[in-house]
């Protein structure tokens, strides 16, 4: 009974949600159009709803305050199907509409990579949430990032472990996919810079069923602190449980997946007392608290990073166009890059020349299954 009800409500919610948002775009004429590629369908359809709601909340606020350049803003959503060809198709559909002045892209780095060539060809600003550092460092001047990139998470983990927890002998465990490898390397580099040692740097393949060899390696390395980059929550859950079973109880700091809801559920007590980085933490600032309150009113659930970045992106983009005073892509670009000290839901935005808006993370702690905000660490370089 439960199965069917759950399944049915998903279908219902999905089929109602998509037309509802697209339907808003009905009024033609004197509107200013912004395109958005979001996963309406596919594996990330649920996250896509968060992203759409976050953008919509910002949009309503902007329109209530008078819109942009005196016009109401209209959001045109195109489904990216959570796939790379899907987002290429979706973006090509939007790009064909010449009166769209700017776009919101994807939170998935691989999808941003997929659409990047077309973005460069079109030459209009695209706000993105993908965290692969390369995205803003590959000569594509039209991508603007509204989340801290992965190179900062390693620095934040190292800084917190060494300076706050006072541990200097590290074991690093990371997935061998691009995210894990880059993260592990960033952490090792950051540790090297602040004079800590890496006793073990161990990669593993995603969807491993057993971590006994990895845990035994951590145990034998004699490290006094553990840092990790896990991509999938079930891997993290198995690892964390075997860690405790085999008697490893050193402090543990991890990449964002360590504080994600699914990981908390799977690992249970095995992750109590660990620390993680998180780009959105509701308790981290007044702006974040305000966004949390707004989001709950509209969606009846707590927001997460999927929603906070589109919320910030929509707000900053609207402000930038207003400041530029025109819809010329070059002028909008200059205005976004000139955004400094903006208090967003995710933190304080200070855009650099590459198009990166955020340069730090929140550190949160797992207190018996509850995620508690600890501190925000920002870098200025």
């Amino acid at each position: 009974m439960k199965l069917t009800r759950r399944g049915f409500s998903r279908v219902l919610a999905a089929s109602l949600a998509a037309p509802a948002f697209i339907g808003r775009a009905g009024a033609q004429g004197a509107t200013l159009k912004i395109g958005m590629c979001a996963p309406v369908t596919g594996p990330a359809a649920e996250q896509g709803r968060y992203a759409q709601t976050g953008a919509k909340i910002a949009l309503d606020a902007v329109n209530k305050a008078g819109g942009v350049l005196g016009k109401q803003v209209e959001l045109i959503i195109e489904d990216d199907q959570t796939t790379n060809p899907g987002i290429v198709l979706a973006f090509s559909k939007l790009a064909a509409q010449e009166d769209i002045v700017a776009f919101l892209g994807s939170i998935r780095s691989t999808q941003v990579h997929a659409m990047a060539p077309d973005v460069l060809k079109l030459g209009k600003p695209v706000m993105i949430g993908g965290t692969d550092p390369a995205l803003t460092h590959m000569g594509n001047q039209w991508l603007f990032r509204f989340r801290p990139n992965d190179s900062y998470s390693g620095r934040v983990l190292a800084d917190y472990g060494v300076n706050t927890l006072g541990k200097k002998k590290w074991a690093i465990v990371h997935s061998t996919d691009a995210f894990g490898t880059a993260g592990g390397k960033a952490l090792a580099d950051a540790l090297g810079k602040i004079g800590a040692t890496v006793a073990l740097d161990q990669g593993y393949a995603n969807q491993s069923q057993d971590f006994t060899p990895v845990v035994l390696a951590v145990k034998q390395s004699g490290a006094d602190i553990l840092g990790s980059y896990f991509t999938f929550e079930n891997d993290l859950g198995i690892f964390a449980r075997q860690l405790r079973q085999l008697g490893v109880n050193i402090p543990y700091v991890g990449s964002p997946s360590i504080v994600n809801v699914t990981a908390l559920k799977l690992a249970g007590p095995a992750l109590y007392g660990t620390f993680g980085v998180s780009d959105f933490a509701e308790e981290s600032s007044e702006a974040a608290k305000a966004f949390g309150k707004l989001y709950r009113e509209v969606a009846k659930v707590a927001p997460d990073v999927q929603a906070s970045w589109t919320y910030d992106a929509m707000n900053i983009l609207s402000a930038a166009i207003n400041k530029a005073g025109k819809t010329d892509p070059g002028a909008i670009r200059e205005a976004i890059l000139a955004t400094k000290g903006y208090d967003g839901a995710e933190g304080v935005y200070n855009f650099d020349a590459n198009g990166d808006g955020l340069h730090g993370y929140n550190i949160v702690k797992n207190e018996k299954g509850n995620i508690i905000f600890d501190k925000h660490i920002d870098f200025t370089d």
Binding site: T83, N84, A96, P117, D118, D177, F179
Partner: protein, 597 residues
């Protein structure tokens, strides 16, 4: 592949040419499609969809070859597609080589991997092949994700270049349509080539294919490599079209999508492949709501696979075709069938077949134990014996299905003891089976064409000559009027005659008949007796194995008798049948033999 395909073109052209205006019409349609691709006012979205359809369809053509024609499974087509795509991606964006060079390199890598994969498992059964292709698919995905220095890992490869002159969306689509038309033409006509016929024969009946002179293993490897090659070409073109590739586009799930495309459209024909591909690309675009629930559309694909396999095994195109066929009966042959020529090689040795000390042991059981006899050229020789005497084992050793434990077999003076079945056929051996083994999806004529195509058959080259020879053989057994009928529409007795005709069409030096009278009624037996006499009159050497004493004593000049795996008599027919040991063996072992005789 290209060599055979090109060789086949003139023949195919001639055949079709008379009927439809042939390749000209095809070329005209292809040209029209290309022009439409270049000049029609499609927007970028439509262009993307059409490029996707064209490039996927090329890969699905590969499945038409391997699954439809050859009956082998490939669950890694997305991996081969990915090899081509990554070759073009990495080649143009990282190594900065020309698009064409990268495309050729990718196709070659796919071809080599396909051939290697096929060679390592195609000797084993289809289950292993399914398993190994899944493993290959998984390993390739692992490599794409984990070998970051080369593949860029999950980030994928961007900035993929298109070739000069084809950089615009329309131009590139034009290129893809031309490629699709060329590959489609080759795949369409593949069944009319020697390789294509061999593939169909292998699919229908491997044993019969091998005794028709087809090297089953090589044909399977060729089909598999060809499939991989088409996957690679499709993938390479796809990479150019989308300018970005990443591992998740070439996962196991995509292999299943390819498989579903082939099955849905109809696995037997490239037209089906194109229909299936277009439907599964366009339908999800219009039926997006299916994708709003993760997993739902793949669940529907899975269900569709089961339902298609069960209720529409030939796919949409096969379904349509079965209706079209009613209106499109092929024209009758213009000329009457020629007389069957049997011209066995004339050599100096007096015996066509020489067997010395032949033994075959199964563990402790000595099924054949030191048997020797020789078959004189131009004679009808019978090998008889009660049940379990080792007759059929002897025959299987003779045709190469079993390796002998000891002994020597010489055909036409050449030692063939170590040769596999297809090589013995090439050396001049023709045979039929006790339980008929025909290629059941083909017409009578096509069955016999495969027999006529026996390597080493000096008579007749080229498609027209093969068809003539096949009609002659069919005429010889009295069934020429039903040449185009499917095998399944023939009676049991007629199927046996077709099997004999298939062997005769190959112009063998020696014809082995394994219990030809088994299962025939008395009228059919009379017909068979007449046929054997007419074959003998043409000077062909026959070795016949049967229980039917009336038949044997009527047609055979020479008889060898086996009992318990040993030779108990050998000599002229009349003399042997009077031999008391023979009578005792028959009466002792099989009391009703006298009645039968």
């Amino acid at each position: 592949m290209s060599a055979t395909a090109q060789a086949a073109k003139p023949a195919a052209a001639r055949r079709i040419g008379g009927r439809f205006g042939g390749p000209l019409a095809y070329a005209a349609v292809a040209a029209l499609a290309t022009l439409a691709a270049i000049y029609a006012p499609f927007d970028d979205y439509i262009l993307h969809i059409l490029v996707e359809t064209a490039t996927y369809a090329i890969a699905v053509f590969g499945l038409t070859v391997v699954l439809g024609l050859c009956g082998q499974i490939n669950l890694a087509q997305a991996a081969f597609f990915g090899l081509g795509a990554y070759a073009v991606g990495l080649g143009t964006s990282d190594l900065h080589v020309s698009f064409w060079l990268a495309l050729v390199a990718g196709a070659c890598v796919a071809l080599v991997m396909g051939a290697f994969l096929g060679m390592s498992t195609l000797r084993l059964g289809g289950h292993y092949l399914a398993m190994v292709t899944i493993s290959f698919q998984q390993i390739l995905t692992l490599v794409m994700i984990n070998w970051i220095p080369v593949t860029h890992g999950p980030d994928g490869v961007g900035n993929i270049a298109r070739p000069a002159f084809f950089t615009s969306g329309h131009g590139y689509l034009g290129l893809c349509v031309v490629a699709l038309a060329l590959v489609g033409y080759l795949v369409w006509h593949l069944p009319e080539t020697k390789l294509g016929r061999s593939m169909r024969a292998v699919r229908d009946n491997e044993l019969a294919a091998s005794v028709s002179g087809i090297d089953v293993y090589r044909v399977k490897v060729a089909a598999f490599a060809l499939c991989a090659l088409l996957g690679g070409i499709g993938g390479g073109l796809f990479a150019g079209g989308f300018a970005y590739v990443s591992p998740d586009q070439f996962s196991f799930a995509e292999s299943i999508v390819f498989l579903t495309m082939a099955l849905l459209g109809g696995v037997a024909s490239p037209i089906g492949a194109l229909i299936g591909t277009a439907l599964l690309i366009v339908l999800p675009e219009t039926l997006r709501f299916l994708k709003s629930v993760p997993g739902l559309y793949l669940a529907i694909y899975g269900l569709a696979v089961i339902l298609i396999i069960r209720f529409m095994p030939d796919g949409i195109w096969g379904f349509v075709q079965s209706y079209l066929r009613r209106f499109m009966t092929p024209p009758p042959f213009a000329q009457a069938a020629p007389e069957l020529v049997l011209a066995p090689a004339k050599l100096e040795t007096p015996s066509a077949l020489e067997i010395e000390g032949l033994s075959k042991h199964f563990g402790g059981l000595k099924a054949v134990d030191g048997v020797s006899f020789s078959v004189r050229r131009g004679s009808v020789h019978a090998l008889i014996g009660p049940n379990g005497s080792g007759k059929t084992t002897t025959l299987n050793v003779l045709s190469g299905l079993y390796t002998p434990t000891a002994g020597k077999i010489a055909l036409d003076g050449h030692d063939v003891t170590g040769l596999p079945p297809h090589a013995r056929t090439a050396a001049g051996l023709g045979r039929t089976f006790q339980n008929i083994r025909l290629f059941r999806s083909m017409s009578a004529l096509d069955n016999i064409v495969i027999g006529a195509e026996r390597p080493g058959n000096a008579l007749g080259h080229g498609h027209a000559a093969l068809v003539d020879r096949a009609r002659a053989a069919l005429g010889f057994v009295g069934l020429e009027g039903r040449a185009r009928d499917p095998i399944t529409s023939f009676s049991y007795g007629h199927q046996r005659l077709i099997e004999v005709a298939r062997a005769l069409a190959g112009n063998p030096t020696l014809l082995l008949l394994d219990e030809p009278a088994a299962g025939l009624n008395s009228t059919e037996k009379l017909e068979l007796r007449g046929l054997l006499k007419r074959i003998a009159a043409k000077g062909l050497t026959i070795l016949i194995i049967d229980h039917d004493m009336a038949l044997v004593s009527d047609v055979a000049e020479h008889i060898t008798v086996l009992n318990f795996g040993r030779r108990i008599a050998d000599g002229g027919a009349a003399e042997v049948l009077r031999n008391p040991d023979v009578i005792a063996a028959y009466l002792g072992a099989e009391p009703d033999a006298a009645h039968r005789a």
